[in-house]
């Protein structure tokens, strides 16, 4: 298959917040009005009443099969990563574009795009030379330094063998043969780099969805299939299609070796969609949580030295509060109660509801309803999710993307819709969430979501992908420089210090953040820990190897730690 191509003229094209000067300049340049990449044709920016405003970035539109998804392959959308690709301290944006429906004998794949961050919410398409434009129907992305050269590499999940792109520096990537040992051959959705065995390098967990033959797709009315939802014929799956097993790859000096069974990750196959690392039983060993569609979610608890036990049911994190499996999609993790352990939010299908698994010493209890994220989510179908303190009041709020899988959801009698508002949930500080009006209320068919401080102003921004179409970039409007950002460097093999736990104690209490790059559903996000500034305090960092360090902090801003480790 040939590599996907893009016009070379796109390289170096700047994307920025629209301005009068920019529009005047643009009007004078032939071809500048290209709606795919230029500032002309920018959306009208809505009134900035917060907490987020359309940043006005015209990122490349994504495609996921046909206009109306006929098959389950075309449902999940693409992926995105917010990561420091060039090591200059700010976040680049990588968009993963599935592309058109793969046809037999025809090179397939969308146009993956890497945007360089030039500061001030100004991004430049690096162009084809970046090397991220590998072929294939790509879905998700994970970021980690596989070869311990200090640069963040990129793993792309696809239908068929996955791809590992080695970061060679200067915003250039090269595809490694057989994905460095982690190619697989199924349909992978999400993945996460996590040092499961705590040997100092990042291992890889890859989530697979189901067996799908693009040349013979399961369709309603074909091969006797009667795929219906609420009495209407709809695309088939996941029920009726074989679930596929996930894979775990141990990092052996830069080579990824399948150790799924040896490590205990060989659970019965589920319809996997999302994954996230964490230390959910607070024993210092990294665990992995997996959201499964229509099958119980997995919680792989690490028993030490790279061995895990699937404990989802036993720990209470596999099913809803009513004991039912749900259509797990997105995952967010954060310490909502200030007790030092992370709670889990899982988005689900319409007429289910979000699950909010509150963690009490490694035992989980779904309290979505009493905490307010149950009822209002029932008519929505959720995808990517993130806990972010969008108003910088010290309490983690929540945002999640929504959009149905069936275009038929717009028919009468479904009590839901295809396009849906993305939901912003405000945390009142007492653990009670309520939906908050915002500019992202306009209905859309959203999928992956990632959060990060794109313009380094101390406020979290958002990127939300649509199943098909142009991604939305939302700029956070909380007061600037009223936060403490902690950027860790764990040294070669772990340049973001992933797996470290950062706790900041001020006069009002202790808040804890885990440093991770996974954003749960087909995405990677800002690994830096961000705390709303409430006053001076003490920062405690527990590194993945168990060592601690403490720092007195007397002013907001960015604190970089660990570069010399």
């Amino acid at each position: 298959m040939s590599r996907s191509r893009r016009p070379s003229s796109r390289a170096g094209r700047a994307l920025s917040v629209p301005s009068i000067a920019g529009l005047v300049f643009c009007a004078c340049l032939p071809g500048c009005g290209d709606s795919a990449s230029g500032p002309a044709g920018s959306r009208t920016t809505a009134a900035a009443d917060g907490p987020f405003v359309d940043a006005g970035l015209l990122l490349a539109p994504l495609t996921c099969g046909g206009e109306n998804a006929r098959t389950i392959l075309e449902v999940n959308g693409g992926g995105l990563a917010l990561f420091d690709a060039d090591g200059d301290g700010d976040l680049e944006i990588l968009l993963v574009d599935p592309g058109p429906y793969p046809s037999a004998g025809v090179a397939s794949g969308g146009t993956n795009t890497l945007y360089r961050n030039d500061g001030g919410m100004h991004f430049v398409d690096v162009g084809e030379a970046s090397g991220v434009g590998v072929p294939g129907f790509c879905n998700g992305v994970a970021v980690g330094d596989v070869d311990a050269d200090g640069r963040r590499d990129v793993y792309l999940t696809r239908l068929g063998p996955n791809a590992l792109l080695r970061n060679t520096g200067d915003l250039r990537f090269e595809e490694l043969p057989e994905a460095g040992g982690a190619a697989g051959d199924g349909w992978s959705t999400s993945a996460v780099f996590v040092d499961v065995d705590l040997d100092g390098d990042l291992d890889l967990y890859v989530v697979d969805y189901l067996a799908f033959d693009a040349d013979h797709p399961p369709l309603h009315g074909v091969d006797g299939r009667d795929c219906r939802w609420k009495g209407m014929p709809v695309m088939c799956g996941p029920q009726g299609l074989p679930a596929q097993p996930d894979h775990y790859y141990r990092n052996d000096d830069g080579r990824l070796v399948d150790a799924t069974a040896a490590a205990g990750f060989d659970a019965p196959p589920g319809y996997g969609l999302g994954c996230l690392d964490g230390d959910f039983d607070a024993d210092g060993w990294p665990d992995v949580y997996v959201s499964n569609d229509s099958t119980p979610n997995f919680l792989f608890l690490n028993t030490g030295h790279g061995k895990v036990v699937e404990s989802g049911l036993a720990a209470g994190a596999a099913l809803s509060s009513r004991g039912r499996e749900q259509a797990g999609m997105g995952i967010a993790a954060g310490d909502l109660e200030g007790d030092g352990d992370e709670d889990l939010l899982v988005t689900n299908f319409s007429m289910e509801s979000n699950a909010l698994y509150v963690n009490d010493g490694g035992r989980f209890d779904d309290r979505a309803d009493p905490m307010g994220v149950g009822g209002p989510s029932r008519r929505l179908l959720g995808w990517g999710a993130a806990f972010v303190d969008f108003d910088l009041d010290g309490a983690l709020d929540l945002v999640n993307a929504n959009g149905h899988v069936y275009p038929q959801a717009d028919e009468p009698g479904t009590d839901t819709s295809y396009a849906q508002p993305d939901t912003l949930w405000h945390n009142d500080g007492g653990g009670r969430f309520s939906p908050r009006a915002w500019d992202g209320d306009a209905p859309a068919v959203s999928r992956a979501l990632s959060s990060g401080d794109l313009d380094d102003d101390g406020v979290t921004d958002l990127v939300i992908l649509r199943r098909s179409g142009r991604p939305m970039v939302w700029r956070g409007l909380a007061p600037e420089r009223r936060s403490l950002t902690v950027a860790l460097d764990g040294g070669p093999g772990n340049p973001d210090g992933c797996g470290a736990v950062v706790a900041f104690t001020d006069a009002e209490g202790t808040r804890t953040r885990r440093v991770r790059s996974s954003a749960g559903y087909q995405a990677a996000g800002d690994p830096r820990a961000l705390f709303a500034w409430r006053g001076t305090g003490t920062l405690d960092v527990r590194w993945p190897d168990g060592t601690h360090e403490q720092h007195a902090v007397d002013a907001p801003g960015t604190l970089a730690l660990g570069a010399a480790r």
Binding site: L319, R322, G323, S353, G375, R378, D415
Partner: protein
Amino acid sequence: MTPRGRATVFARTFGAIVLATLAACGDEAPVAAPLDDADRAVLARAEDLLYHQAPEQVPALLEPLLARDPTPVEAEYLAGQAAYYLQDWAACVTRLEQVLERDEADYLTRCNALGFAHAKRGDYADARTLFERIVAADPEESKAWYGLAHVALLEGRLPDARVALDRSLALRPDYLKARFAEVRLLDAEGRSDEALVAVTALLDAWPSNEEALFLQVKLLRAEGRDDEADQAESRRAAVYAAKEQIATLAGRIRAGDDDPAARRALVLAYLQLGDAGEARDALLGALAVFPDDPGLRELAQGFAPR
């Protein structure tokens, strides 16, 4: 007159006032044409389908009645109930609201149904408002007290849930849904020991409640009684599988893919759930279609005559 009787009169009066108010506003409630025997047969069949968990057949069956202007209230109500079971809460709410606007009969029952539809839809505030109206009209309406407790539990208002649930159970101690809510409330209140005792007792009366089994598993694990939790988990999984199998088999039979083996499997699945009544009904239905099937006849020998 008993307190309940007084409350019923009050509720009917309340409903009549609503209707009168609507009429005074110029929105005179339309009156449907009287139902004939054929109409009543359709309604009876629709009720039968709802009872036998075939709600998807109800809308088509009722279509001729629903097409009338005005729609017979009875048909509207059954269509609302079918929408409830089909998880089309919006349609359910719309239809039940229309019913309540037009007809005072069974006002409290229908209000309760609407309240639970709101709760299912995630509109807890609307549900709470309705249940509060009901208990204001009839303080002895145990179902509405349970509804209030259910919503309060969902919203995390535990003291309110306690008050409402105590009222519900005082009025109707054998109300199984309320007893299950009691288990959930005890658990939410952190009274785990009492919750475990209550859920064990509940499961004696309602062994097919997989939600209660799920809660029992959680409570047993919290006490470190993992062996018992594993056993309860096995029971939960079996109940869950049986319910899934029943849904699959019933759907298959309704779709016309019917044979004695499917019918036998359906009966056995009900027995697996411990639901002898449904098993008997399923067996009688099977024998009506396949009277000579030896497998079904053998199964029938295990049932005492009615």
